[in-house]
Amino acid sequence: MLNYVLARLLTFIPTFIGVTLVSFSFIRALPGDPIQVMAGERGISEERYAELAAQFGYDRPIYVQYWDYLTGVLQGDLGVSFVTKRPVWDEFFSLFPATLELSICAMIFAVALGLPAGVIAAVNRGKFFDRALMSTALVGYSMPIFWWALLLIIVFSGNLQWTPVSGRIGLQYYFPDPTGFMLIDSLASGQKGAFLSAVRHLILPTIVLGTIPLAVIARQTRSAMLEVLGEDYIRTARAKGLTPARINGIHALRNALIPVVTVIGLSVGTLLAGAILTETIFSWPGIGKWMVDSIFRRDYPVVQGGLLLVAVLVMVVNLIVDMLYGLINPKIRKR
């Protein structure tokens, strides 16, 4: 197991370098640079521009800049935000809990609904429920996420006034946030109604962010279940006189989980990508919104650092998923 993890960690190195290269060059490929953005519409004199460029090191050859950046990263230095002058590392970790909270809720939402839906669809294969569920899942998967968000806001926030439109908590609440997770902090603050307000703020972003993973998980669970239900050991389970609920929910689902866990792992990437849109629409102060803002500001260090941290996160999650396979199906452990 240890050897396996080490081997996997080695494969991180090329991915890691690739991500730094891509993030470094993409943000520079965009027209404009941080100095121009800062100068705004008034513009800036040639001399002042050259002075600032020299100050930030943008006058040097591009490969020198990249080398500087890479050696910095390897020493744990992601640079300082151009705009706020705070270290990228600090900014990331002050905003990350918000994204993590939202992502976890979205994932719970997707798994809690997607797994049972997939199982029920597989068991009732070809019947009305199966067809209805699978077409809904297809719609959910194909729907543009920003449009779906706006639709929900119009109905639930606009017409019905059930949920707030944006933010993480009502403005009347103020309390320290030691964990950065609003649900925990609001509960710890002991303020009346704070927790409920945090929950209400979470509902719509959770649904929006969780919709695509939900659709993918439901469809994957269904097809994995269909395959497993034809296996000999399911016949054995039936010959033991077990109830259908036990056969489907324990004997079949455990075997069907492997491909489902794979898509859950892959969904983490989708989730972080989706967080960018979702957080922007709901003004959710997480890393998604932070990155979008930084791209508009051409805040090179933030975009580079943020992308890198997100990429590392996705790689680590997928490594954990691979290790989970062995836990679910001991037969895979041998390999």
Partner: protein, 325 residues
Amino acid sequence: MSLLRIRNLSVEFATASGRFRAVDGVDQDVDEGEILAIVGESGSGKSVSMLAVMGLLPWTATVTADEVSFDGQDLLAMDAAARRKMIGKDLAMIFQEPMSSLNPCFTVGWQIREALRIHLGMGRRERQARAIELFEQVGIPDPEKRLGAFPHQLSGGMNQRVMIAMAIACKPKLLIADEPTTALDVTIQAQILDLLTALRDETGMGLVLITHDMGVVAETAERVSVQYAGQKIEEQRVGPLFRTPHHPYTAALLDALPERATEKHLPTIPGVVPGQFDRPEGCLFSPRCKFADAKCKAQVPPALGPDLGRARCFYPLNTDERVAS
């Protein structure tokens, strides 16, 4: 009163190309403590008829029968919940492929203890003790350690022993073994058959052995039922069947045994079992039968009396006088 009593059982499958009759009007009786072998080629409906008794057929199958009763209870009138209480407990079944018949995600001990918990409601300690006892009974060495093993860590023979232990866990009155030795190598085959016979002697349960191997039949069975293309075509006690088969198909099967071959080439039965589209008008075996004449091809032969093994044939073999047709 027999333990398992089947009258006029038919099973039809709805397929994309129409209905297919896999079992066609089969009668079967199994007494307590008896070993009945059901023999036939692939596609003769021997497994399907027993799966129908267990209620394990897929939803595409339609089961009709005049009577299917087990231990005095009518299985046809029984609802699914009542049947679940019975199968796995009084009526158990083991299958052909032991490696794929056990769930790869759970230890074999877990799978056995599950049966004990569901049907007998035993406590944790009791289950563990009984599982160890069962493993000893089916000849698995070092049972405490093996209970913690996963199916992929055991050999095919061991897994079949696990399947048997699981099937006899609740002391069933009847065990149906569907080609239990086909996937195993020859030395292990003999061990498993000995085990099944020994367990029958010990517990007095009935045993239905589904097989296509006449060698297995000779070694193990007491009574033999020969099936062909979904019909039961002959039934005799094992001794008389081997000495004086009445149906030409049975005789041809016996001739094809390597042990009985007298010539250099092993005799074979030409052709294959008729399928969905080439089902003959008259006797189902007539296209492959060397004795068949125009009558055989035109009319369906009725089953003869018990003295002639209930053979479905106009011209049964090994009789002193031909039955008048």
